[in-house]
């Protein structure tokens, strides 16, 4: 059993859970179990080719899986997988595209 930590922006796609316990021998298997349970997460985490999106990092404990064996990285019981997306919040005004007004048009 590995613990998967779900970050705030993605909790809406995981029935608001902040973490889940999942089975899997590798990072890929655990993530598959995760998106099987919450299908809406799949689109958020993976691109059309099934690759992890480049603004989402997955850490096994404190190490980025890109520097381990990526999807094939073995997961042991008690390990923690963290999903860490890039977030940009901080201020309005120094922004190239402003804040609420612009994002309203973008979204």
């Amino acid at each position: 059993m590995a613990k998967v930590l779900i970050p705030t922006p993605l909790r809406q796609f995981a029935e608001k859970h902040d973490h889940v316990q999942l089975e899997g021998a590798s990072v890929g298997e655990v993530l598959n179990a995760l998106t099987a349970r919450y299908p809406d997460l799949r689109k958020q985490l993976f691109n059309d080719e099934g690759k992890l999106r480049s603004f989402v990092n997955v850490y096994l404990n404190d190490e980025d899986i890109r520097y381990l064996k990526k999807d094939a990285t073995p997961v042991a019981s008690g390990d923690t997988l963290s999903i860490v997306p890039s977030i940009a919040g901080g201020s309005c005004g120094a922004a190239l595209s402003g804040c609420g007004r612009a994002s309203a048009r973008l979204m």
């Binding site: 480049s54 990092n57 890039s86 901080g90 922004a95 007004r101 048009r105 979204m107």
Partner: protein, 405 residues
């Protein structure tokens, strides 16, 4: 980092002011003089910039540049503690500078009332020892990152969302801190080679943020800036600090420099600033059509403004009127006659709607409802109109008694 050129010393008043630093062996007179000679550029005087600006001013930093072109509004005051109620309507730049100057008259403040851009970033940043990034959008994040890497300036990074924050030092050019040698550190692109597609992650205005959160993250940034200047302790280089306010937990992830990174890697392909709007897939506000002031009463096959919607409701037209905000927003304010179906519930509740009937969707500002409208059209709905400007426009143009948030 700072070069000791002209002899700098502290006046008697400054010695008194900084006495609690001076008696700390890790700072002392030498450290305080380093702070006095330091030049920091704050990008943004908002959520993160507010707390860190206050403390950096107080700490005795000699020169602080502030880049900001926004104006203080009431919704800022819940977290942007450098501005007060009396400052609403003023430039954040003026309000922040005034507060910081009041805390410390020895501080030199340079104000840049501009949007940081590919045209001006290198010119502005080059005069400073480091940048503290407190912006709110991906184009500026990547711009600050690339400019810092090109100029070999550390970029003290922080970002926040709802109850969570991240902080690290990107773009450390390599050097010695507290007697320990640090290699060139990773940059933002090493962590995140590309931004999310626009709209995937809501902004603070749509997603909300705990007012105290930027205080914590901004002060982590301020702490790291001061440590880098002093050359004290263990800098947050190669470590991404994650903070969860609800769990009250700090965690730390390793961030490595990617030798293949297009900006800071061994063979960089990006050696000058690029078009960051294009990179992030968002329209450049400078090139965008000036916001066409929609004629009051505007209605087309796909859009409707607040005035036209009011007329439609008053006439008693038959249409499906859907509010796609969240239930907690519905509790704050609502437009009479709307039915609440939160955006994420639209797919599973689509059976409640008639695809043949005219449908108007609204949200807070018009962004989420545009998504809902696109989705409904993709599901065969024939007459879907997005309400321009959402409930904020309704409050502005139709019923001021509806609170804005």
């Amino acid at each position: 980092m700072t070069t000791v050129a002209a002899p700098v010393e502290l006046s008697k008043d400054e010695i008194l002011r900084y006495s609690r630093h001076l008696i700390l062996p890790e700072v002392g007179m030498e450290g305080q003089l380093k702070l006095k000679q330091a030049k920091i550029l704050m990008v943004g005087a908002g959520g993160l910039g507010a707390p860190l600006g206050l403390y950096l001013a107080a700490s005795g930093i000699g020169r602080i540049g502030i880049v900001d072109f926004d104006v203080v509004d009431f919704t800022n005051l819940q977290r942007q503690v450098i501005h007060g109620t009396k400052d609403v309507g003023r430039k954040k730049l003026d309000s922040a500078a005034e507060t910081m100057q009041d805390i410390n008259p020895y501080l030199r403040i340079d104000k840049y009332e501009v949007a940081l851009s590919s045209e001006n970033a290198l010119d502005i940043i080059k005069d400073y020892d480091m940048v503290i990034d407190g912006t709110d959008n991906f184009p500026t994040r990547y711009l600050v990152n690339d400019a810092c890497v090109i100029l070999k300036k550390p970029n003290v990074y922080g970002s926040i969302f709802r109850f969570e924050g991240q902080a690290t030092v990107y773009g450390y050019p390599g050097g010695s801190v507290d007697g320990k040698q640090y290699a060139q550190g990773p940059c933002y692109r090493c962590s995140y080679p590309e931004p999310p597609p626009p709209g995937l992650v809501p902004s603070c205005a749509e997603g909300g943020v705990l007012g105290i959160l930027p205080g914590i993250i901004g002060l982590v940034q301020a702490t790291e800036a001061v440590k880098l200047i002093l050359g004290a302790g263990e800098p947050l280089i190669g470590r991404l600090m994650l903070y969860d306010a609800l769990a009250m937990r700090f965690r730390e992830m390793k961030v490595r420099r990617n030798p293949e990174c297009p900006v800071c890697g061994d063979h960089p392909s990006i050696k000058e600033l690029i078009d960051y709007h294009q990179f992030c897939g968002v329209p450049n506000p400078k090139e965008a059509q000036p916001e066409v002031a929609v004629k009051p009463g505007f209605e087309s096959a796909t859009e409707i403004d607040a005035i036209a919607l009011k007329a439609k409701l008053d006439r008693g037209d038959k249409f499906q009127f859907i509010d796609v905000r969240e239930p907690h927003e519905w509790q704050i304010a609502r437009i009479p006659g709307a039915t609440l179906i939160p955006l994420n519930d639209v797919p599973k509740r689509i059976g409640e709607l008639n695809p043949e009937a005219e449908t108007v969707v609204h949200c807070k500002m018009g962004g989420r409802s545009a998504k809902a409208a696109d989705f409904l059209r993709s599901q065969g709905f024939k007459h879907v109109k997005n309400m321009i400007g959402g409930i904020l426009a309704w409050s502005d143009k139709v019923d001021p008694s509806v609170p804005k948030y």
